[in-house]
Subunit: 139 residues, 2 copies
DNA sequence: CAAATATATATTGCACACAATACAATTGTG
DNA sequence: CACAATTGTATTGTGTGCAATATATATTTG
């Protein structure tokens, strides 16, 4: 029986290391747009949705307000998006893109392709990977 | 042609979210031992290797000294390990477990099993997952 | 052997993550 | 309608990650 308490026998560690490696792979492309990877994920949502509350962003990204609030404030400072309290329910903050934020979409369009290229995995492997991870996330 | 700039079409985002979810799944088990997930990874190495320099730990975990130094100091404060400069080369810091640190191994032995159970993936899927991730990491 | 170079760790600064808590606005209930 | 419970965001504190820089020690080279 092999020792499960060995780094090389771990399944979660490769995923953890790979996840960090992924944000490192995105970094050079995102730096050109002054975005971090989590900020890029926010932009992905806003390029489609136009209006999102902090809570809606958090549900989609699995992040809470303790992470999102300062992140969104930094993006607001950079002029990419606006934060405005809802008129109808003042507990909510509505996030929406500025024109500058909208314009970034075009520049970002090449990023997914570049990343897949860098990863060097086949389409089949990517589909497999996504399928398995999605199953585990659905617990 | 589907829009690659949509969150639901991303392959990296599920991996990123899943990686965070994994450390959340470990948290309840590790809290009993006063460990975080990265600290647990350090312990996995030291339970096998006995002596490791900061650099050796960093190579195995893909982490740099800016991350490891404070992390190891916190673990030293908790009495799990010792940090001592090498006599032969004073640039190096040798990390080794205390008796208390050694003893934690027994309590940790059940963790890998519990995690796999929680994940709810088949052995085949786990092997697939590890194989694909390892391939991508080897670029 | 002295000076340049390389190596190993530490420090600093910034950006996440997340638990715990706080707080204001809203909703549900008697 | 008062008021307790809920909801949505913000704040605080701790712990990573990582780039850039600093510092001390070794090693290489002329």
């Amino acid at each position: 029986m092999k020792d499960l308490l060995k780094l090389e026998n771990q399944i979660c560690f490769p995923l953890y290391a790979f996840s960090r490696e992924l944000t490192n792979l995105y970094r050079p492309f995102l730096e050109e747009m002054d975005l971090t990877y989590p900020q890029y994920l926010v932009m992905l949502i806003l390029w489609v949705e136009k209006q999102q509350t902090v809570n809606q962003l958090g549900e989609k990204l699995y992040l809470d307000s303790g992470t999102l609030t300062p992140l969104l404030k930094r993006m607001e400072l950079k002029g990419m998006l606006m934060r405005k309290r809802s008129q109808t329910d003042e507990r909510m903050v509505i996030i929406s893109l500025t024109d500058a934020g909208e314009k970034m979409k075009e520049k970002a369009s090449c990023i997914p392709g570049k990343l897949v290229e860098t990863l060097g995995l086949s389409i089949d492997e990517l589909i497999q990977l996504k399928k398995i991870v999605n199953k585990a996330m659905k617990r």
